[in-house]
């Protein structure tokens, strides 16, 4: 499956995922605590510099990930333009931009396996409480494995619908999709059991 992780290898790829996530959390909280336009403007410039340090292609890719923000920026501009509180509007817009861009930066520069390793580490105290943390990593792998298959199922069902109907299938296709997914779940549970099932006393990827 395609992921949002940048194919361009940057210096930030080599920084441990845990450190990046910790820095991201601290900085995001800081962004929401300050109301000073100068600080937020500096933060936004710093984030742009961060993207630029990884190259212009990386910056362009990052800008594309911010598309969903445009309607909100437009809304803020309109709202605050009409009420005449331009400074408050700039504060909100800069904060949104910097926080989202920063979060995307961490996602773009951290490999999936490193992220999963952090998640496993975060969950590990729960194992002592008897929670099946291994089931979590197993389930993540299964979602990655089965999402493309379910998409294909949906497309195949839509084709078989259109082969017999002049109208588009629409929402009705969700019924057989869900039924197939539940059937698949039962088959996979059997395959999982054939190879030992979820055994909690087995070491996971961290060991």
């Amino acid at each position: 499956m395609i992921s949002l992780i940048s194919p361009v290898e940057t210096w930030a790829h080599r920084i441990p995922a845990g450190a990046k996530l910790l820095a991201l959390s601290a900085l995001t909280v800081a962004l929401f605590l300050t109301d000073r336009p100068a600080v937020l403007a500096a933060a936004t410039l710093a984030v742009i510099a961060l993207y630029l340090s990884a190259g212009t292609a990386f910056l362009r890719q990052g800008a594309r990930h911010l598309r969903m923000l445009w309607p909100f920026l437009l809304l803020i501009a309109l709202w605050h333009g009409l009420t005449g509180q331009a400074q408050a509007g700039i504060v909100i817009a800069l904060r949104l931009l910097a926080a989202l861009a920063l979060a995307n930066f961490v996602t773009m520069t951290t490999r999936l396996t490193d992220m999963i390793a952090v998640l496993t580490w975060v969950l590990s105290p729960l194992r002592r409480l008897g929670l099946p943390t291994r089931a979590v990593t197993l389930a993540i792998a299964m979602v990655l494995r089965f999402t493309p298959m379910l998409v294909e199922n949906g497309q195949r069902l839509a084709l078989s619908w259109r082969a017999r109907s002049p109208r588009r299938p629409g929402w009705r296709i969700v019924v057989p999709m869900a039924a197939l997914a539940l059937d698949d779940a039962d088959h996979v549970a059997e395959a999982l059991r054939a190879r030992g099932g979820i055994l909690n006393d087995i070491p996971d990827g961290r060991n």
């Binding site: 494995r145 996979v188 999982l192 030992g196 099932g197």
Partner: protein
């Protein structure tokens, strides 16, 4: 006590008897189980692999009850299902093969090395990082075979593993199968896939109606299938 031992196996699913009084001791290296759709052969495959506990009788491999002792089962018997999409759990080839080995208690690093060795044995070392979803049907089936063989089972149960595959792919997979040291129990409705097998069981209506060498069982099976093919029994609903 060696081999697969079935003693008076009975299985009832949803109130309907699926298997009745099936007994056999299987010690031959290649055993085929034939029968029509609904004859109970898939259920028998699951009983042998220990995925279904029989309601009556006993199923054992090398003296151990596979349904009760799942840990012993992991080391003893592997099963390959008809649809590889129901079997492959992981997004990449290497993870899929290594999984069974970590299940057997190997450390992740050792399991990965063993998985790579298995890929190399089949000349498929370059498959390791490939997405399982992108494999062809035949490649998926080969992956399932490698994932099961990596666990070094004594018995490999295969439930219609070649259905839906083209003839060259089927022949290639059958050639891979020839090189396997483990005992193979293959479920199929196609006698053509059982060339070179040592013994054939024929299931009909949940009962064993023939058991013997291929020359004795398969010609009768084929003749019977052709005779039934002339009838219209698609009309009957199960139940």
């Amino acid at each position: 006590m060696t081999g697969v031992e079935l003693r008076d196996i009975g299985v009832t699913l949803a109130g309907r008897p699926v298997l009745q009084g099936v007994s056999a001791r299987l010690e031959e290296p290649r055993v085929g189980i034939v029968g029509r759709n609904g004859s109970g052969k898939t259920t028998l495959a699951r009983v042998i692999a220990g995925l279904v506990a029989p309601d009556a009788g006993q199923a054992r491999i090398d003296g151990a009850d596979m349904a009760a002792d799942r840990r012993a089962a992991l080391a003893t018997v592997g099963i390959i299902f008809q649809n590889p999409d129901h079997q492959i759990i992981f997004p990449t080839v290497l993870e899929e093969i290594a999984f069974g080995l970590t299940q057997q208690g190997q450390r992740p690093r050792a399991a990965e090395a063993a998985a790579r060795a298995m890929l190399d044995r089949f000349g498929k070392g370059h498959w390791a990082p490939a997405a399982t979803h992108s494999l062809s049907q035949g490649q998926k089936q080969l992956l399932c075979l490698m994932a099961v063989l990596a666990m070094r089972p004594r018995v490999v149960v295969m439930d219609e593993p070649f259905s839906g595959l083209d003839i060259p792919t089927r022949l290639q997979l059958m050639r891979y199968l020839d090189g396997i040291a483990a005992q193979v129990v293959m479920i199929t409705h196609d006698p053509g896939q059982l060339r070179g097998f040592d013994r054939i069981l024929w299931l009909e209506g949940g009962r064993l109606i023939a058991d013997g060498p291929p020359d004795a069982v398969l010609p009768r099976f084929e003749a019977q299938m052709r005779e039934w093919g002339g009838l219209d029994d698609l009309a009957h609903l199960a139940g």
